[in-house]
């Protein structure tokens, strides 16, 4: 466990000291929520959007810490040096996941606290647990997407790809407004995207409604797809670099 904790600390310190990582993940979602969504008085809307922006914040951690992070690090001398240590790939991954979970929680917390400070958001006591559960479950799915991106994107392309995917999936998933406000072409694509499916289960949870089974099924399908891509990419990278 101490090795996993050491990797958690190493990842966390590195990211805490990197403004290029902190700005999009911790600052932008909260800033955008303030600029575009608040202050407002419509309780249902601001609560719905608080849930949406918390998802966008977690999506940013998944894509930048896993996607851009893995892609940029995997070819570095440091990663090659780590291969000489008595260390398994699973321990390294566990350290990364713990660190990302901390940043994801912090990024979502910034939005949630801010929303409570500037808007009349309302989440009933009994809805918090289902809501946070839905946030976490969807976070795992997009984390798998980030890991897949990390092993398939080239180091130089990773940050632009992560940025583009982060913005597009947020917009098309209906996280910046409400899905009903999307233009026609986007509205047609939206129901099939992981962010929209994540939104469906999260919005239902925060509003105290039952999520449609389709949302969970769709998310599960994306999780399987991302996991296969991540494993495939990992093995491909291992083959290219180390075998």
């Amino acid at each position: 466990m101490s090795v996993v904790l050491a990797h958690f600390k190493e990842q966390t310190l590195q990211h805490l000291r990197a403004p290029a990582y902190l700005l999009p993940t911790l600052a932008l979602p909260g800033l955008f929520y303030f600029l575009f969504e608040g202050p407002d008085t419509e309780v249902g809307l601001v609560t719905f959007l608080m849930a949406s922006y918390a998802m966008w914040a977690i999506l940013g951690v998944a894509f930048f810490q896993f996607g851009a992070g893995i892609a940029e690090e995997r070819a570095t001398p440091w990663e090659r040096f780590l291969r000489t240590l008595p260390l398994s790939g699973l321990q390294r991954l566990a350290g990364r996941v713990l660190s990302a979970a901390l940043f994801a929680a912090a990024a979502a917390a910034v939005v949630i606290v801010e929303a409570h400070l500037i808007n009349p958001v309302s989440v009933a006591a009994g809805r918090w647990l289902p809501w946070l559960g839905a946030l976490g479950a969807g976070g795992l799915v997009v984390a798998l997407g980030g890991i897949a991106m990390g092993y398939w994107a080239s180091p130089r392309a990773a940050t632009p790809v992560a940025t583009l995917a982060w913005l597009l999936l947020a917009y098309l998933g209906g996280l910046w407004a409400t899905p009903g406000e999307l233009p026609g072409w986007a509205a047609e694509v939206s129901p099939y995207l992981p962010t929209r499916l994540w939104g469906e289960v999260t919005w239902a949870a925060v509003q105290g409604q039952a999520a449609s089974p389709g949302g969970w099924l769709g998310l599960t399908a994306w999780a399987v797809g991302f996991a296969v891509l991540a494993l495939w990419g990992y093995r491909r990278d291992e083959g290219a670099s180390y075998r």
């Binding site: 600390k9 310190l13 990197a18 001398p77 090659r80 040096f81 000489t84 240590l85 260390l87």
Partner: protein
């Protein structure tokens, strides 16, 4: 957990390649390489660029899978992380995260070993105490190399595998590392190092293994190598280092 007993370490070669073939597509990087490093021995792996030295080190450390033949570290499979608990190594290219200090990097690395050296002691030994609080990614080339070598000793290893450890080091640092390696070997440690500095091999190595075109073309003491190439200290008028250089050039087909 794999227990590496004294018997396991001492009774056989600490590091061993046996009949190793490794190819990358059409390119045959290693062609039936045999290599052993015993306790209390420093083996220098020499050869021209592209001879297969780094690939041999990669196979030995479990980072490259041989197409044929086998690699053993301390009598164990080198691909198992537990095998590397008594092994320190530095790859040819060294580099550290921009956002961690030298002391943080050392603290991080030592956690992986069961009986690591304390960080202050390690940094002092390699002349890095003064830069302990500096960002590791911002060190000069020489300091980066020195930190890499220091980290190879972080776990109090029985074997260190050093791929061109002194490249970029100034003369004083190089000589300092030589003293550390001599003391380590005298204490029963085993070293495999690749180097382009023939004086280094001549000054340190108990044995020299010469690779050319993926094959071992000579092995033995410096004296045996030079003798095999048809040279002797008397044959070469300049002091000893060029004697080995001349021998390597002859054995690997280079011009002299």
């Amino acid at each position: 957990m794999i227990e590496l007993t004294d018997d396991a370490v001492g009774a056989r070669a600490v590091a061993e390649l046996r009949g190793v073939h490794k190819h990358y597509g059409e390119v045959e990087a290693l062609r039936g390489v045999d290599l052993q490093v015993g306790p209390g021995e420093l083996v220098a792996l020499l050869g021209p660029n592209g001879a297969g030295k780094t690939t041999a080190v990669g196979v030995l450390l479990g980072q490259r899978r041989p197409n044929a033949g086998s690699a053993r570290l301390l009598g164990r499979d080198p691909t198992l992380p537990a095998t590397r608990r008594l092994v320190g190594a530095i790859p040819q290219l060294a580099g550290f995260p921009d956002n961690l200090t030298v002391a943080e990097v050392a603290d991080f690395v030592r956690v992986h070993y069961p009986d690591p050296a304390p960080t202050p002691e390690l940094l002092e030994r390699f002349g890095l105490s003064q830069v302990a609080g500096r960002r590791a990614g911002g060190l000069s080339g020489g300091l980066t190399r020195r930190l890499a070598v220091a980290l190879a000793f972080a776990g109090r290893p029985r074997l260190v595998v050093l791929d061109e450890p002194t490249t970029g080091l100034d003369v004083e640092s190089r000589r300092g590392l030589w003293e550390i390696l001599r003391a380590f070997v005298a204490d029963g440690g085993a070293v495999l190092l690749t180097t382009h500095y023939l004086e280094e091999a001549q000054a340190l190595a108990s044995r020299v293994v010469v690779l050319a075109d993926g094959q071992v073309v000579a092995h033995g003491s410096v004296e045996e190598i030079t003798a095999r190439a048809g040279l002797s200290r008397g044959h070469v008028r300049v002091p000893s280092p060029p004697g080995l250089e001349e021998a390597i050039l002859r054995l690997t087909g280079g011009s002299s």
